[in-house]
């Protein structure tokens, strides 16, 4: 067959010699050339793989269109590997993704299925409704050298075929098939030069490098799994890993699955590529980068900013505390953790998450169990771990003051006047306070307000032993905590102190009314 193929140029270049041949011999020679050429073309077997259907999902398949393309190929007298063998091949080699075979898998197809060519394709768009649409992409590869020798994308929408009279306008997908496939296969090569030679490549199946980020001197481990060798002799190359000029031979692990080796990481910070070198007995050395790792010598560092109310150099809050962590040396972080510890060094809040440092965290004074934490001093600790698992932490103290101001009321009286002393017994400044005093008939006797305590207020006294003065008292501290009290009778303060009732929220509207 090869000899005949070589004779083809003679047909054009040596007309004189051909004329010299007897007519019968000439016809016979031409027939042999013709049949052998046809035979060569049809003998090129094609492994046609099921179509990937991107209109479904990233790994969809389309059985009906696969069968249709298959039929169209057979109609064009292509020699196809049986579909069952293709399916068995996919299962046997655990190929789960269609439309993107690797060079190694293409080589396997040649070895296991004996195919000369591989045809794989993708359904880009398909609409089987009233407005049919079909977009298909095909790629033809040569198994001898894994080269893609032909590729085409064809698309057809029903309105591309509509005519003025509308006599033969397409109405469904099948109406598109004839013009579509005629155009799609118009340039499909009848035959292909199968003489390509595979490029020497390292058939690496899997590479596992652990860890990818580490500290100086830590152990780096690399496992490599090679594809099965396709050469008949099964000659194994000697494999070594090369990093920073050092070579580490790969040794088969106990399970006989991976080739592995390990070495201490460099002392200097940096990015270190790992090169696999394969030395064949013939002297040929192949090499390729299989991965990398980074040595990290510096921790990320972190600082905390607490957004609350500052008083006497301390941060206080009553409702919400904003915690803003900030990295001192910004770098990717693998995880972070925040803890809130009380005065007895017991952690009442622990929260940890993988991923980046949050822009801010809000603590509402609750424990991890959901209950309100008691007032007091707390320490907030924020920790981060970088990709080399270096820990950085920052701590800040905060006072949780959820309770309102505590106002001490003392009353002294004589026949002429009543003196009311108010004092703030909690060491936290007030924003404002006011006190209203009402007589028995409900008349407002006095309204006093201010922002500083202690204060002494004088009211008119009475000789009536049953005389009563009611007091409404409100005070708000710098954290926004508010105390509102209703003292029904100032003269029976000690007796009725237990009966002080907190006033429900009193609005300005009610006051004005």
């Amino acid at each position: 067959m090869t000899r005949m193929a070589v004779q083809l140029p003679i047909h054009k270049g040596q007309e004189k010699n051909l004329r010299a041949l007897p007519f019968a011999e000439l016809c016979l020679a031409l027939l042999i050339v013709l049949f052998s050429w046809t035979g060569m073309a049809s003998a090129q077997s094609i492994a046609f793989f099921p179509l990937l259907d991107l209109s479904e999902d990233p790994n969809g398949t389309n059985g009906p269109l696969t069968e249709k393309v298959r039929q169209e190929l057979l109609n064009r007298e292509k020699t196809l590997i049986p579909a069952e063998e293709i399916m068995n091949f996919l299962v046997r080699n655990r190929i789960r993704t269609l439309g993107r075979l690797t060079s190694y898998q293409t080589s396997l197809i040649r070895k296991e299925l004996g195919a000369d060519l591989v045809l794989q394709g993708t359904v880009c768009q398909v609409d089987e409704g009233d407005t049919p649409l079909l977009s298909l992409n095909l790629q033809l590869s040569r198994t001898s050298d894994d080269q893609i020798i032909w590729a085409k994308t064809e698309h057809l929408y029903y309105s591309d075929l509509t005519s003025l009279l509308g006599l033969e306008d397409p109405h469904n997908l099948e109406d598109l098939y004839e013009p579509f496939f005629t155009s799609l296969f118009a340039t499909l090569p009848e035959s292909s030069d199968l003489g390509g030679k595979a490029i020497d490549t390292l058939n690496i199946d899997t590479v596992i490098i652990s860890p990818n980020y580490l500290r100086p001197g830590e152990k780096v481990s690399c496992k490599v799994k090679m594809h099965n060798l396709l050469n008949e002799e099964a000659i194994q190359p000697q494999l070594v890993l090369s990093v920073s000029g050092q070579e580490y031979p790969l040794i088969l692990d106990e399970e006989g699955y991976y080739l592995q080796t390990s070495w201490p990481a460099e002392q200097e910070a940096g990015f270190y590529p790992i090169t696999l070198k394969a030395s064949w007995p013939s002297g040929i050395v192949q090499q390729g980068v299989v991965g990398s790792y980074s040595v990290d010598v510096q921790e990320a560092g972190v600082e905390l900013h607490l957004i609350g109310t500052e008083h006497d150099g301390e941060i206080l809050f009553s409702d919400k505390l904003l915690i803003i962590p900030k990295l001192l040396e910004p770098e990717p972080i693998t995880r972070w953790e925040i803890t809130v510890t009380d005065e007895e060094e017991e952690a009442i809040v622990i929260m940890a998450e993988p991923g980046h440092v949050p822009r801010r965290i809000t603590w509402q004074g609750k424990t991890s169990l959901g209950s309100i934490a008691p007032p007091g001093n707390y320490w907030i600790t924020f920790k981060v771990w970088d990709r080399a698992q270096r820990e950085s932490s920052a701590e800040a103290a905060v006072q949780f003051r959820p309770d309102g101001p505590e106002i001490l009321v003392e009353v002294t009286q004589d026949e002429e006047r009543v003196t009311v002393d108010l004092d703030n017994i909690v060491n936290l400044p007030l924003i404002f306070w006011w006190a209203k005093f009402y007589g028995e008939d409900g008349n407002l006797l006095k309204l006093v307000q201010g922002s500083e305590l202690p204060v002494s207020i004088e009211l008119e006294g009475s000789s009536d032993p049953e005389y009563k003065i009611q007091c409404l008292l409100t005070a708000r501290d710098i954290l926004g905590n508010q105390t509102q009290k209703n003292i029904p009778n100032l003269f029976k303060l000690a007796e009725s102190e237990a009966d002080f009732e907190d006033i429900s929220i009193e609005t300005e509207w009610i006051e004005e009314f």
Partner: protein
């Protein structure tokens, strides 16, 4: 000038305007490799669009058009995907320069082509479909991963309409194919040397 000649001239000029070519916008940052751009690795395209599998569709179409020129040796998509897995690169992320260097060390390409799909839309309008595609393609050096050329291209399927509905591109695949052809033609025109040169 006779009236009929004037009409013919106007008709000719209007036809020319209808066929106006929207060329891709090419930015040359560095020269292409001196040894030529024969062996090419096309990296998975990123998409910032809602069109399902938009990036994958444009990738397949562009890949085919590159092969169809017959002037490049294009590495199989499966080989690129396998390397992404081995080097722990997500398909939704653009490899950094170090990762490109590593891929280059394995495949030894002359060029990498990466891309981002910025806009991809299909809207049915009666019997036709309004299609729109905007993309950016980047050419990186196959050894160092350095960005060399960058092409921005935006087209509407209706821009190809000539007389009546003829020429109009009614599918996003068709538009991607046409735009890929225009981009590759522009690269060749701008001096990209191929395997056959």
């Amino acid at each position: 000038m006779k009236y009929s000649s004037l009409c013919s001239l106007i008709l000719f000029l209007s036809l020319l305007a209808g066929c106006g070519k929207e060329v891709p916008v090419l930015q040359k940052l560095e020269a292409l490799p001196a040894q030529g751009s024969c062996k090419i690795a096309v990296l998975p395209f990123l998409d910032k669009i809602s069109y399902p599998q938009g990036g994958a569709i444009v990738y397949k179409v562009f890949f085919s058009e590159l092969v169809a020129t017959g002037r490049f040796q294009v590495f199989p998509e499966g080989d690129i995907q396998e390397l992404y897995q081995q080097l722990l690169i997500y398909p939704i992320q653009q490899p950094n320069r170090e990762q490109l260097e590593m891929i280059g060390g394995r495949l030894n390409p002359d060029l990498f082509i990466g891309g981002t799909i910025l806009k991809m839309e299909e809207r049915k309008q009666g019997d036709y479909v309004d299609t729109e595609l905007t993309l950016i393609l980047h050419l990186y050096d196959g050894k160092s991963g350095q960005l060399l050329w960058s092409t921005y291209h935006r087209r509407l399927g209706s821009e190809y309409q000539q007389i009546m509905h003829l020429g109009r591109i009614n599918s996003i695949t068709g538009l991607a194919r046409r735009m890929s052809q225009e981009i590759i033609a522009d690269w060749l025109e701008q001096g990209m040397t191929t395997c056959t040169e």
